[in-house]
């Protein structure tokens, strides 16, 4: 009897040890970025110690002094706000009849929506680039914000699944009370699915905060740079020497970009974790 208890204890500690090892592996890049942002450039290129020998804030000062950092923040916030507002409004509207109404062609529409979810964005970005160039939208945030107002298939899909979980009797009661379809949508479904809006909104913000591909294709000038492109280009080289990569400044800029998602996890993990979980489960 005693032996099985000992065996169990050893098993438990072994699993705990594994957990710690995985945690160290997964968190090491973040620690590395944080520590690197406080190192001087000489220390960064010669030492791989985690604790900086001489911690300095000059990298953060460098970023704010040598780039239009606040402009990049403004652009990223504009991008996040525009796309999120657009996709919440349009995707919810489109999802409503798919979840709640019977109409001719419903299955066809739904099949196309699921099908377009499978097309990677990057395959269509060159023709879209030419298109947006023709209407003069290049080098602005418009190629990313405007399409958001025309419903992303993936978000439509998520809204549909959420709407279907709301009891249909509520719609019927509202209809008997004289509500139109639009009334049902705004007075019944929207108030009941506030958490859904928050969840999809959070996911959309996280996505656009981290998005690199589309800004790289569409944006050229400094005045519309987002934080992700700035991280790739602006802080790359030390002033006066184009061949030395200014790693500590890149690490400092990365630190600033990691902090918001981190705070979001710490204070809004309910929305972030639950949202990502449900968006992955709605198969």
């Amino acid at each position: 009897m005693n032996q099985t208890i000992v065996k169990k204890k050893i098993g438990r500690s072994f699993i705990l040890l594994l957990k710690i090892v995985v945690a160290v592996i997964m968190f090491s890049p973040i620690i590395w970025v944080f520590s690197g942002s406080f190192k001087g450039i000489n220390e960064f290129t010669t030492s791989s110690n985690i604790i900086p020998a001489k911690a300095t804030l000059e990298n953060f000062a460098y970023i704010f002094k040598n780039s239009n950092y606040l402009v990049y923040v403004r652009n990223t916030v504009l991008l996040m706000a525009g796309t999120t507002a657009g996709t919440l409004l349009s995707s919810a509207l489109v999802a409503y009849p798919l979840a709640r109404m019977n109409f001719t062609g419903k299955n066809v529409i739904f099949a196309i929506i699921v099908g377009t979810m499978m097309i990677p964005n990057i395959a269509l970005i060159i023709p879209q680039y030419i298109m947006f160039g023709k209407i003069g939208w290049l080098d602005s945030l418009l190629p990313m914000i405007v399409p958001a107002f025309f419903a992303y298939p993936y978000n439509v899909f998520l809204f549909r699944q959420f709407f279907r979980s709301i009891p249909k009797e509520l719609d019927e009661a509202a209809t008997i009370d004289g509500c139109s379809k639009i009334g049902v949508f705004f007075k019944v479904l929207v108030p009941l699915s506030k958490p859904t809006f928050v969840t999809i909104g959070v996911l959309s913000c996280v996505f656009w905060w981290n998005e690199l591909t589309q800004p790289v294709f569409y944006i050229n000038s400094d005045q519309w740079r987002t934080l992700t492109i700035a991280l790739m280009t602006t802080f790359m080289y030390t002033a006066g020497n184009a061949f030395v990569i200014n790693w500590p400044s890149i690490m400092a800029a990365s630190t600033l970009m990691i902090i918001p998602p981190m705070l979001l996890y710490l204070f809004g993990s309910k929305f972030l974790v639950e949202g990502i979980k449900t968006s992955g489960l709605k198969g």
Binding site: R12, L16, K19, V22, A23, M26, F27, P29, W32, V33, G36, F44, T45, T46, S47, S48, S90, V94, P97, L98, M101, N102, F103, K106, I109, M117, M118, I119, P120, I122, A123, L124, I126, P127, Y129, M131, F149, F150, A151, V156, V206, N210, E211, L212, T213, F217, L227, L231, W247, M251, S254, P261, M262, Y265, V273, I276, K277, S279, G280, G283
Partner: protein, 308 residues
């Protein structure tokens, strides 16, 4: 007379109903036509021209496709794309299952563990790429330092630029992407939903831990595995650009070993300014995505267990 009236009123009602539904769907329909359908057609059209970045173009028939089929760079890129997508799908899925099973084993501090496991997946891939460019770096890189201190020998490997180690390095980095974190969370709840009685039955039969996993856990979570592999596939095709562009550059160093098609498209369009050719490459990428989609659904029909 009355009956006919009733019929027309039913029909009228249905028509109104349909029109309301279409009105709600209008944003998507407009978006679908302008941002998906039209670009697809336009992409085929431009791929038949020698369009340059400055807009000058002539119709050249299938010359782009002929050049592409004869190009070594293209075939390399084609193979890298398929290799990268499939291996990334497998590696990240396995890693996500391992993390989910560890986290589902009830112990103290699980909240902190989940924080550590999950946070990397919601930070920008650029930040991740730069972190790993320095961690895997030759001088003052973290990995070389760790190996040196463990083995006592001086490790001096340039992990991302050495053709022997680059794939190890790149696939290791994919463990930190959004897709892995999302899969981990979904597997966690999927694993929680597996009925306890099934495990108890196994215990009575004296089944080993591996057999329990193979015969109970895996079939029960297979629908989630399917959904996640579809999403993983798209995100591998789509997200490889955001990860590899800051990591190994548009040429996919070393020697194009990591040059997936999206990087080649970017390079041809913006560095070589051959937009027509880039469109032909996009067509190929589009077809690859379609093939992966069809393939996954074909496999799923045979292998996935659905409760209902």
């Amino acid at each position: 007379m009355n009956e006919v009236n009733e019929q027309t009123s039913v029909r009228k009602k249905q028509l109104r109903n349909n029109l309301t539904a279409y009105a709600f769907c209008a944003p998507w329909m407009i978006g679908f036509v302008f941002f998906t359908l039209f670009p697809i057609g336009f992409m085929f059209a431009v791929s038949l021209t020698n369009r340059k970045l400055n807009g000058i173009s002539d119709f050249i028939g299938f010359a782009n496709y002929r050049n592409l089929l004869q190009s070594e760079t293209f075939w390399n890129s084609f193979q890298v794309t398929i290799f990268f997508t499939i291996i990334m799908m497998i590696v990240t899925t396995i890693w996500a299952v391992i993390m989910a099973m560890l986290l589902n084993y009830k112990q103290k501090l699980n909240g902190i563990f989940q924080f550590c496991y999950f946070l990397p997946s919601v930070i920008p891939t650029v930040a991740l790429a730069y972190a790993f460019r320095t961690i895997f770096g030759k001088e003052a890189g973290l990995l070389n330092a760790i190996i040196t201190s463990i083995s006592g020998k001086n490790a001096n490997v340039n992990w991302l630029y050495d053709s022997h180690t680059v794939y190890f390095a790149v696939f290791f980095i994919t463990l930190f992407t959004y897709n892995t974190g999302q899969m981990m969370l979904t597997f966690r709840s999927g694993l929680n939903d597996v009925p306890r009685e099934l495990y108890e039955a196994c215990d009575i039969d004296g089944a080993s831990a591996f057999r329990k996993f193979r015969n109970v856990t895996l079939p029960m979570i297979s629908p989630i595995v399917l959904f996640n592999s579809v999403m993983g596939c798209i995100s591998a095709l789509n997200g490889s650009f955001a990860l590899l562009y800051p990591l190994t550059g548009e040429s996919g160093d070393p020697n194009g070993m990591t040059q997936v098609l999206s990087l080649l498209i970017y390079k041809e369009a913006f560095s070589n300014m051959k937009v027509g050719y880039a469109c032909a490459l996009s067509v190929v990428l589009f077809l690859i995505a379609c093939m992966f989609g069809i393939g996954i659904f074909a496999v799923s029909k045979r292998m996935v267990y659905y409760e209902n």
